[in-house]
């Protein structure tokens, strides 16, 4: 149907050069000066933001991102100042968001899946080295006492340090090793102020003592020289790390035990016996995450059962909601029935109630010890609705039936009303009974209409995170597995848990799971779209 209409709409022949010229002149003549000013104003705002972003990115030395920002800004200006590219003018704003937050994040997910990103591996190697050295710092026993003054510049705290031997002043921050400050003001052997820095008052030092304790100013560019730290904001002491970094050999040595940790290419300094110093750094690990997902039995086991349950859950959810919805639509498809509208409103209330609230309310009602269902409906029984592996799955399906049947009911009502009555009458004339009419005629006609909706409903339930997370939290937990997942977790909630809950966050593994889901969803979508030929309608 839509195919024919679109063909009619499409221009019969491409416009000639003269026509295009005329169209452009009309376009230009019709634009009033106010539209023009508005356009220039909006573009000026966009350019100002781009310029500001460029400045910030220069200070962070992010050249690649800077390049992208500039290219996009130039492109936007070119599109909107051009008299042509009319389609691009309408598509650009949405496409920018689509590319940044859908396409890019998709590709980035792919990249993370091939890294060891996660707890203990979330920075560069340099960051890992300085963080390791800083965490292993110990005060040097016989270190002299350095009089210090806490200073601040642009929100960054620093220390103004006076050398007790020669009285020379120097200043530095966490990131900036001590530098000579010859023009510092000295009072009683202690440098108290220096140009360009604000000296903190005594009261400020007291109120920010926890921040001040964290200041650790490197003595020199070589991290092995140690750092000045001050416990009280008055006196500083030399702290030296018990770890020694040898840049030439690329090894870390623990000076107390003598253990040598070296970079063996696994993203952390590793001793010969396999001990690792954490934090490590982020490296590309190739297919490790995928290999781990399919070979490590404490991950493979839950992955398989979660995948199976995801399919079972999505299929049963679609089937149960559809059949209840269809049944109700058939029941209501009788014009002589009274209060039809009243019932209709009551029946669609669950669909109108925000879904996350429904799941939370049901979780409360199904609570084993205090919930309404056990306490009142079953008279004080303690049925483990959400804590028994099998019952929890049943509960999830019941709640999803409650959530989903109104939608199917509405859809089926609409579709049934779209089937003309004469089909019915003709079949009845030929001697078909009501069941035959339904089975052979109505259902096939109905399915033509609702099949695409069933597919999208399947896709929705395949990723129905809220229901699972808020009703059971994925529980009950699997015992003896290494990732925090449970019997009712579906793939998407498993990804969330691996990435964001528990003691360790394994972004790499979570992204590997995501890629697996992508593949599954893509295959299902392609197959189902082929079947329904939905894509063929786009012309």
């Amino acid at each position: 149907m839509s195919q024919t209409t679109i063909e009619q709409e499409a221009p019969q022949a491409p416009p000639t050069k003269r026509q295009r010229q005329a169209a452009r002149i009309a376009e230009a003549a019709s634009g009033s000066i106010r539209w023009m000013l508005l356009k220039i104003l909006l573009l000026a705002i966009v350019d100002a933001i781009a310029l500001y972003a460029a400045f910030v990115l220069v200070t962070h030395q992010e050249w690649l991102v800077l390049g992208v920002v500039l290219v996009v800004a130039v492109l936007v200006n070119w599109i909107y100042f051009s008299r042509r590219r009319i389609a691009a003018k309408y598509l650009t704003p949405g496409v920018i968001f689509l590319i940044l937050f859908q396409v890019f994040t998709l590709l980035y997910t792919g990249y993370i899946g091939f890294t060891n990103y996660g707890t203990g591996h979330n920075g560069s190697k340099d960051q890992a080295i300085s963080s390791l050295m800083a965490s292993a710092q110990e005060r040097v026993e016989d270190s002299p006492t350095y009089p210090v003054t806490v200073v601040e510049r642009l929100g960054t705290l620093g220390l103004l340090v006076t050398d007790p031997d020669d009285g020379e002043a120097s200043v530095g921050t966490n990131d900036q090793p001590l530098q000579d400050a010859p023009d510092a003001t000295v009072e009683g052997g202690r440098a108290v102020a220096v140009d360009g820095w604000t000296t903190l008052s005594f009261a400020q030092v007291i109120s920010r003592s926890s921040d001040i304790e964290k200041i650790s100013v490197p003595f020199s560019d070589d991290p092995n020289d140690g750092a000045i730290r001050t416990p009280d904001g008055q006196n500083g002491y030399l702290y030296v790390s018990t770890l020694q970094y040898d840049a030439a050999a690329d090894t870390m040595t623990d000076t107390r035990t003598g253990t040598v940790y070296s970079d063996t290419g696994v993203g952390a300094f590793t001793a010969e016996n396999g001990d690792q110093l954490l934090p490590g750094w982020q490296i590309t690990v190739g297919l490790d995450n995928f290999v781990r997902a399919v070979t490590d039995s404490s991950i493979r086991g839950p992955l398989i059962s979660v995948t199976l349950w995801t399919f079972v859950f999505a299929l049963i959810s679609v089937a149960s909601t559809f059949f209840l919805g269809l049944l109700l639509a058939l029941v209501f498809n009788n014009t002589r029935m009274r209060f039809r509208n009243g019932y209709r409103i009551l029946l669609i209330l669950p669909y109108a109630f925000p879904a996350f609230l429904s799941a939370l309310v049901w979780a409360g009602m199904m609570n084993e010890s205090f919930g309404f269902i056990n306490q009142v409906v079953f008279g004080g029984a303690s049925i483990p609705w959400l804590t028994d592996p099998t019952l929890a799955k049943v509960s999830v399906l019941i709640v999803n039936l409650w959530l989903g049947f109104p939608y199917m009911f509405l859809v089926c009502m609409g579709a049934l009303q779209g089937i003309p009555d004469d089909v019915n009458e003709a079949a009845a004339m030929d001697g078909a009974n009501p069941w035959q009419i339904f089975r052979r005629i109505k259902l096939p006609l109905l399915l033509v209409t609702v099949a695409p909706l069933l597919i999208s409903s399947f896709a929705f339930n395949f990723n129905n995170f809220n229901l699972i997370y808020m009703l059971t939290g994925g529980g009950p937990r699997f015992t003896d597995v290494s990732i925090p997942v449970g019997h009712t977790d579906i793939l998407i909630s498993m990804v969330y848990k691996v990435a964001f809950t528990g003691q360790t966050r394994d972004y790499g593994l979570a992204s590997a799971f995501t890629i697996l889901i992508f593949i599954v969803v893509a295959v299902i979508s392609i197959v189902s779209f082929r079947k329904t030929k939905a894509l063929e309608e786009l012309n």
Partner: protein, 296 residues
């Protein structure tokens, strides 16, 4: 399927009545009870002055507004702020989504340009991968952006809205595209002959004509944003910044100690505006949802 066509309704016997429509009422009543009982329960729990889950089990045993006062004034759970945050985020997302989607739908429906078919197919394909699947990448991206531009990074509403707008050209555009196609091209041509440019045609002529579908898409996007937990929970860290879904979920994360009636009061207040809007617009919503299907 009618068995009593000839009999006049008023004269039907009970048996015929039951065979014809009576059993329908039985089914309807049973299913209606299933449908509304959790809602009755939450309303009753919200009116119960006792805070616990057990205390909420006797439906409408006590009626008072104590728990409403509690949830609105509890300093640990800034419910009014959550409500406000949700309202702002969902409203802005809804409006901008509709605007961006309508722009794109207009281009796809009215213009013929190279890459149009590919663009439409891309939108259909990309929308199959819900944004929440890429939540790890979104989190890392926003935390990096936050290092450079703190005002749109993690823990900001602006940042969250920007992420949501990544989905603006999804199913919405497709719905609107179908609706735009039902407007005859002759309208545009007439306006063009009268000297109107494409911008004027779009803003002053097309947009008012497609207002129903715009309302539906705005509402669907609004409800979708209100329900969105994954990205909001990862991005919004401070309790003062969080949305209703994040805050209320945290509130009942331990059912044994949760203030259940305060939660229910919060749920009722959060649900009523959405439900009223929904029931008000339900005919259009269902029409919009099935439009693509019934036309195919």
């Amino acid at each position: 399927m009618s068995t009593a066509v000839s009999a006049r309704p008023a004269r039907r016997s009970v048996g015929t009545w039951f065979a014809d429509t009576g059993w329908r009422h039985v089914v309807a009543i049973v299913v209606s009870a299933f449908a509304i009982f959790p809602l009755l329960y939450v309303v009753s729990a919200s009116l119960n002055p006792k805070g616990t889950l057990t205390g909420s089990n006797q439906l409408f045993s006590a009626v008072g507004f104590d728990s409403y006062v509690r949830i609105l004034t509890d300093p640990k759970n800034p419910y009014p702020l959550w409500f406000w945050n949700t309202l702002v985020i969902a409203t802005v997302t809804g409006f901008v989504t509709v605007f961006l989607g309508a722009l794109a739908a207009y281009a796809f429906s009215r213009m013929r340009f190279s890459g149009r078919r590919v663009g439409l197919v891309t939108i259909v394909v990309v929308q199959m991968f819900p944004q929440l699947l890429a939540v790890v990448a979104i989190f890392l991206l926003m935390s990096t952006i936050g290092d450079w531009f703190p005002s749109i990074g993690l823990n900001t509403h602006t940042g969250l809205i920007l992420v949501y707008l990544g989905g603006a050209l999804g199913v919405n555009t497709y719905l609107m595209y179908g609706f735009f196609n039902t407007l005859p091209m002759e309208l545009d041509e007439a306006a063009r002959i009268d000297g109107a440019g494409h911008a004027r045609i779009f803003f002053t002529m097309i947009l008012p004509l497609v207002a129903p579908i715009l309302a539906v898409v705005a509402l669907l996007s609004f409800i979708g944003t209100v329900n969105e937990y994954v990205i909001a929970s990862v991005m919004l860290i401070d309790p003062d910044k969080q949305t209703l879904v994040v805050g209320l979920t945290k509130l009942v994360s331990n059912p044994r100690y949760a203030d259940w009636s305060a939660f229910s009061a919060g749920a009722v207040m959060a649900a009523i505006p959405v439900m009223v809007l929904f029931l008000f617009l339900q005919k259009y919503i269902v029409g919009g949802l099935t439009a693509g299907a019934t036309k195919g």
